[in-house]
């Protein structure tokens, strides 16, 4: 049984009297100790999917319109808000792109970590303090005994993200959802934070959902990858299968868009056009107006998700590559 099992998740946003689909038929599974990457451009629905898992959609305009989310065999969507809160932050936790907006600027970081611990564990203030210290050590904050009394603004961006990770790990979650955790960080700091996350996973055996727009970060960190475009998963496979046998023209386009750092390319294989806005209806496959392989049926029929090889799922009428 998968730790996290999302089936046919539909999310909608109300625009006037209309309900616009923002996530459609998303199915994902995360096993124990596994890292799943979700990659896509802004507005593709990757963050909303994560918020739905965490039960944090109230803060957004999106609502669940269908599907199920099972965590450790329990359907999260059937839980009462009280039961849901007990799972959130305890067995699953989330970190975000900009830690400064998640940390309270007027409280010391140690007190914020303690609060996260005491939310779900009954222990004395002394014990919670020791736990906070232990967590700061775990995320490799230098001189934790002193830094525990620091305020967020006294720390660098990388250190603040480490504090966020410490808070997320406060109750030894089974699942960590990381939404663009290193996007705001410098590349050298990003490397340190990703290494930290990997080593913490090796130590705790937790599962990770890593959301990123950066195929490089995904490639280095994840066991398997789901590529999202306009609310749908268009390709899903193990990381090695995906990178050795990309089949969806959008995934190929994303890869072609990234300027290489190890060789020179005259021109980038950019994807033409732009992502349609939510209220622009696209008949057929949502990607066809930008797709180099689009023909006849792409303009009229939305393709189904199909396996091009075992555990390699592509939503395309004309998947590319040898496996088609």
């Amino acid at each position: 049984m998968a730790l996290l099992d999302i089936r046919n998740l539909d999310l909608t946003i109300a625009r006037g009297s209309e309900l616009l689909p923002v996530v459609q038929g998303v199915s994902l599974a995360v096993e124990e100790n596994e890292t799943l990457g979700i990659v896509g451009e802004s507005g593709c629905g990757k963050s909303l999917t994560a918020l739905a898992v965490m039960g944090l959609l109230e803060g957004s305009a999106a609502r669940i319109a269908g599907g199920s989310i099972h965590f450790q065999g329990r359907n999260l969507l059937a839980l009462s808000p009280e039961e849901r809160r007990r799972v959130m932050g305890d067995q699953m936790a989330m970190i975000f792109q900009e830690p400064m907006t998640s940390l309270n600027p007027v409280y010391r970081v140690g007190d914020q970590i303690k609060e996260a611990v005491l939310q779900h564990r009954s222990m004395s203030g002394r014990q919670a303090h020791d736990r906070a210290l232990e967590l700061l050590e775990l995320v490799r904050i230098p001189d934790p005994a002193r830094r525990i009394d620091s305020f967020p603004h006294q720390m660098s961006g990388g250190q603040r993200q480490r504090v966020m990770i410490a808070m997320a790990l406060a109750c030894d979650p089974k699942l960590l959802i990381a939404d663009e955790p290193t996007t705001a960080l410098d590349v050298t700091v990003q490397k340190e934070v990703l290494e930290l996350v990997r080593s913490l996973q090796a130590r705790t055996g937790m599962s990770i959902v890593l959301i990123s727009h950066d195929l490089g970060v995904i490639s280095e960190t994840c066991d398997k990858v789901a590529v999202m475009y306009r609310g749908r998963i268009v390709e899903q496979a193990s990381t090695s299968t995906l990178f050795s046998n990309m089949s969806h023209p959008y995934t190929l386009g994303l890869l072609g868009s990234i300027p290489a750092t190890d060789h020179d390319v005259e021109w980038l294989d950019a994807i033409p056009g732009r992502v349609p806005t939510l209220d622009e209806a696209v008949p057929g496959c949502a990607f066809h107006p930008r797709c180099f392989a689009a023909r006849g049926s792409c303009r009229t029929a939305d393709p189904d998700a199909a396996a091009v090889s075992p555990a390699h799922i592509v939503r395309c009428h004309f998947p590319q590559g040898s496996s088609s």
Binding site: E41, S42, D186, V187, T188, Q190, K191, L194, H213, D214, L215, G216, V217, S219, E220, T221, T239, S240, F243, S244, N245, M246, G253, L254, L255, G256, S257, I258, P259, A260, T261, D262, D264, V265, W267, L268, D269, A270, I271, P272, R274, V275
Partner: protein, 268 residues
């Protein structure tokens, strides 16, 4: 070798910070602390480094958005840092800047036509409105936009289209030096590629010189001829693109390159 178009020598831009309070020591932030480089006609030099290294301050100082503390920047035979605002004004046409979000600081009530016509009239490059419209239409086409977009307003465009318009606003003046400060970092990956290709093509076709300021090593490799690596206010290494990427000499350059997440190679 011919004389460079721009020659920056020992540029220092310092800011005083933390002045407030009685007996509080005034401290100095050395954002740019002794930077020298040159850019030749038709050449693209990238200034690459991490946040806070001072790379944007270099660009802002060269366009008089910040005041240089010491140093010189000889552009076409004149030290532009020693010019008064009035003396520098006519040079603004020759030295243009592209920002991360060109619309962040501009009036949202102006149509694209008004926005693009403004600099044409300021620099007296056109005689009347119809001549301006002709030139605007041609420039919009150059950056891959319909001439009809002229009558529309900034909010009607996506991020990528806005940056195209921002680039049109710069290229319409036929500048000699373009300073592009993180021009693609706010854009989605697929749109970044379009805009990088566009900048590269426009640079080649027009022969304009460019100072490309970025933290993105891939973008830098794609567009530059030469690269200057900046760290804490100084340049640690300057060299040809291939030399920097293939045989980096400075430890910081090596650390930067080693930090790039590796993309698994696609087996064709």
């Amino acid at each position: 070798m011919t004389r460079p178009l721009l020659e920056v020598r020992e540029l220092r831009t310092h800011f005083s910070i933390g002045r407030s309070g009685f007996m509080r020591r005034k401290s100095v932030l050395r954002a740019v602390d002794g930077v020298s480089f040159s850019i030749h006609e038709g050449e693209v030099l990238s200034l690459v480094g991490e946040s806070g290294c001072g790379k944007s301050t270099v660009g802002r100082t060269l366009t008089h958005l910040e005041t240089a503390t010491t140093g010189s920047a000889v552009f076409d035979g004149r030290d532009i840092l020693s010019l008064s605002p009035a003396e520098f004004r006519p040079l603004r046409r020759d030295i243009q800047m592209i920002f991360q979000d060109p619309f962040a600081s501009l009036n949202p009530r102006l149509s694209i036509e008004q926005k693009l016509a403004e600099p044409l009239f300021i620099h007296r490059l056109v005689r009347d409105r119809s001549e301006a419209r002709e030139r605007i239409a041609a420039t919009l086409e150059l950056v891959g936009m319909d001439a009809e977009s002229m009558s529309r307003f900034p909010h009607e465009f996506s991020g990528g289209q806005r940056q195209r318009i921002g680039i049109a606003r710069v290229m319409i003046l036929t500048p000699r030096l373009v300073i592009a400060d993180e021009p693609v970092s706010a854009l989605d990956v697929s749109i970044q590629a379009q805009v990088l290709n566009l900048l590269k093509r426009l640079q080649r076709d027009s022969g304009v010189s460019m100072l490309f300021i970025s933290h993105d090593l891939g973008a830098v490799r794609h567009i530059s001829d030469r690269i200057a690596v900046m760290y804490r206010g100084t340049l640690v290494e300057t060299g040809e693109k291939r030399q920097i990427f293939e045989t980096p000499r400075h430890a910081y350059t090596r650390r930067l390159l080693a930090s790039i997440p590796r993309l698994e190679k696609r087996i064709a």
